[in-house]
Symmetry: C2
Subunit: 369 residues, 2 copies
């Protein structure tokens, strides 16, 4: 095999597919990037068997062939080369020579024979989103997946398509995040659970432009993302997702409207008093048109009053401050509405047409005076 392509194109391609290279594995071939120049195009592929990424790059094929190179070494070398054309050449002994200007590297290569190509996913039920929308919806939900593998389903993100609505849901047992997106077209109903890791890597690869589109296709076991020159295939998490609708409610006894930034800043100040690993609730005390936020720990105490607009009853309720700030951080509205039933029932942060719903369970607290 002998190919020539510009350094910058090569770096971009290698960075893209590297996201599917596992950090730790006992199989050296999984640590590789496959360069496939066996046809008229140059394809780079990495595949950890859960997540696979493939991208095509522009370049000249001087001699057809396939080779697998250790991803870490290959990407480090490529990144440090001069900004010029790079030649990658393999001889029969599967030594690979990487040349650029006067620099010449010689590294060992693996045969491409053991490499697992991406599974074939039929592109039947495809939906289209802008890169911007996909990246936003990942950011707005992924923080409330569980990182604990004991319940695999909680480590995933639910994609539910119903008519022209895409609903994206995550939950971790203490909170639920829901975002709804209008698709513009009507599609057959679909419900898949995508591993959180897949979505994290996707949001690192896609550009995030509102004009650039991502096509998403589904099969029984896989989800396929296509954008630019890149294809990402991920296994789905098997099983049925939780019945989230039965956990939601529109009833409330107390509703407050609050300036998001004031509330978020206040929470971020309060957590300064929490030592790492410690669990301390933030207590909010709603009285008339004012909310007193309180925190107390070994280090000291803080309190802060924030103006609100209240409907309904006064209330004192405690929360894990991180759960509140995680949700507030991903809401773009300057003012948010919080709905409460009582100090034992979940709090809902949602907008009027419920394009977002964040459910947060309260925690017990000993009254802070």
């Amino acid at each position: 095999m002998k190919i020539v392509c510009s350094k910058n194109i090569l770096v971009k391609g290698v960075n893209t597919v590297s996201k599917a290279v596992p950090n730790k594995t006992t199989m050296p071939i999984l640590e590789c990037i496959l360069i496939d120049a066996s046809t008229d195009i140059i394809k780079l592929t990495a595949n950890d068997m859960e997540l696979g990424i493939e991208t095509t790059i522009d370049g000249e094929i001087k001699e057809r062939g396939i080779i697998a190179l250790n991803a870490k070494i290959f990407s480090e070398i490529v990144r440090k080369l001069p900004n010029n054309d790079v030649t990658i050449e393999t001889d029969i002994s599967s030594q690979t020579i990487i040349k650029c200007e006067k620099a010449r590297f010689n590294i060992a290569a693996h045969s491409g024979d053991d490499f697992s190509y991406l599974p074939d996913v039929k592109k039947e039920n495809s939906i289209t989103l802008s890169e911007f929308t996909l990246r936003e919806v990942i950011r707005q939900t992924i923080f409330s997946i569980s990182d604990n593998d004991t319940n695999k389903i909680m480590t995933g993100i639910l994609f539910e398509i119903n008519g022209d609505i895409l609903k994206v849901v995550t939950l971790d047992g203490h909170r639920i995040s829901i975002r709804k997106i209008e698709l513009g077209n009507t599609y057959p109903s679909q419900e898949v659970i995508v591993p959180g890791k897949t979505m994290t890597e996707i949001s690192r690869i896609i550009g995030g432009n509102i004009e650039d589109k991502v096509d998403i296709s589904f099969s029984a076991n896989h989800i396929l993302f296509e954008f630019d020159e890149t294809t990402v295939v991920s296994r789905l998490i098997e099983g049925n997702y939780f019945n989230v609708n039965q956990m939601l409610s529109n009833d409330y006894e107390t509703k407050i409207k609050i300036a998001k930034k004031d509330f978020l800043d206040c929470i971020e100040r309060s957590v300064l008093l929490i030592k790492e690993g410690d669990k301390k609730p933030i207590v909010v005390d709603i009285v008339d048109d004012s909310m007193d936020v309180k925190m107390k720990s070994q280090i000291g105490s803080m309190n802060e009053e924030i103006n609100i607009i209240k409907e309904g009853r006064d209330l004192q309720i405690g929360f894990n401050p991180k759960f509140l700030s995680d949700a507030l951080k991903v809401i773009d509205d300057e003012e948010v509405d919080l709905y409460f039933m009582n100090s034992k029932a979940p709090c809902f942060i949602r907008d009027e047409n419920q394009s977002y719903i964040y459910l947060i369970l309260p925690v017990n607290f000993s009254s802070i005076s």
Copy 2:
């Protein structure tokens, strides 16, 4: 005590003195910042007994007093406060209240009685440098101090004043870095060894403007830096520095002139083949007007040819690549001159008037073909 000052001024002051707060200590008072408002000015001080920093901040003293606050907690709180006036108030129980807008923190304070103020250094033999020059000379020499405490003197930086020349020297047993600076005035001879940590912290605090000046004074055991509203006092390292002059030589058998960036880029590529913790030499092979740079490891091999202008004999010599790149990185010249005697003798990188001299010992290498 009760003082009021703007958040931004407080943050700047706290950041400055925090550099003298030790990470680990068994004495809680050393982890504190002292707020001294016992006279007409507000002084912040931190002192780990090796290095002490004091700075004055603008503010209003409503009630005189002195208090010591845990530096980490205090600085985190101050940084997160709204951009407005901050009130710090202590009652008799030495609880401290920090207020800003509607936020109110209550944290424990220490009495200032146990706090060690900075030692008094007589300002007799002072020299003046620009902040820019001081920061540059630290950056250009500090990388070759030893981080091994077995020879304390090697962990320090030599400041040697002779007439109107300041010479700054570091060495670690494998290399020597020397920078000479013209002071503009003539001063009495001085020779002090300043702890590397002091100089690192100084370069983090000073602004680096060429117009802003730093006054440096010396006593038998201390060095004092004064700039802006800030005073830094550090203990000196006791003992006599190495006789560096007898390690230098102007003789050479081979001299090369090389484009610094080409050489540096090449070295940085070569080290990609070295696994962490591994020691592999970079071998340079000087033949006529070309230098071949080679590296070989388990991962693979690389070589690169660089154009040079050579005087004297051909030579093959090996180096620790990091020692070469450390020196090249801090030289601003686009072309550098390297002087060699033979493959066992030190290499010198120096400019014509010897405003900088970098001595690097070679390493053994098995010939790489």
